[in-house]
């Protein structure tokens, strides 16, 4: 996961790029077998342990999902923690410092 967070005029813009295949469950492999669905379902973010973002997503989100959101109150140097969960229950947490 890659995270970029930048504060400007008291608004912190957070952009993330998550490495994930986002398999829809509708694609077929070379032999014609359906590739089972495997996609991120939830993405959440916290700032100083305070939740600042929560999204439910489905298989219509592109491979290697990109999501951006903004929140108020972040200060340069603060930590942003982002976690995702996918349909198999796998999860990853990444963090970045606000610039």
């Amino acid at each position: 996961m890659k995270i970029k967070a930048k504060v400007k005029n008291n608004i912190t813009k957070v952009k993330m790029l998550i490495k994930h295949a986002m398999e829809t469950g509708r694609r077929k492999d070379q032999d014609g077998n359906v590739i089972p669905g495997l996609y991120i379902t939830e993405v959440s973010a916290s700032h100083n342990s305070q939740p600042v973002f929560f999204a439910e997503v489905g298989p219509a989100v592109s491979k290697d999902p990109y999501i951006a959101f903004s929140f108020k109150g972040g200060v340069a140097g603060d930590k942003i923690v982002i976690t995702w969960v996918d349909s198999s229950g796998s999860t990853e947490t990444g963090e970045a410092v606000i610039k």
């Binding site: 439910e56 997503v57 219509a60």
Partner: protein
Amino acid sequence: MKVNRRSFLGGLFKSVVCIATATSLPRMVYAAWNEKAFKAETLEGALKSKYPGLEVIDSTAIKLKAPAIAENGAVVPVSVKTDLPSVKTISLFVEKNPSPLAATFHITPLNVADISIRIRMGETSNLIAVVESNGKLHRVQQEVKVTIGGCGG
């Protein structure tokens, strides 16, 4: 229009990544994934599952930014922004996708109602952004053309 990527990347923070188990995550106070809404196969079905009993009104107070012609349906950049008061959620629907609901963003008073995401569109379709504000659903929509059979420039 000039972006010097090297300096841009130079300013990027290296994100520290670790793999945790689902059980060790701090439980968020939000609702869990709305399976019924995400698996609905029609726009109406998805809307009803996501927002049961809410009235839908067309709005001019939402700024939906999406391409008129998508370069590639696999990656369609979409942004939604609104100044509507007390925004609770923002949802994106692609009418002709096999499952129309693409994403729901939960907006807290800490957030600015301004989100961006890249989504898939299987074919030319209406893209609908719905903003839940003050107990009503405010809607804006736009057609996004998806062309197939090009040679890719």
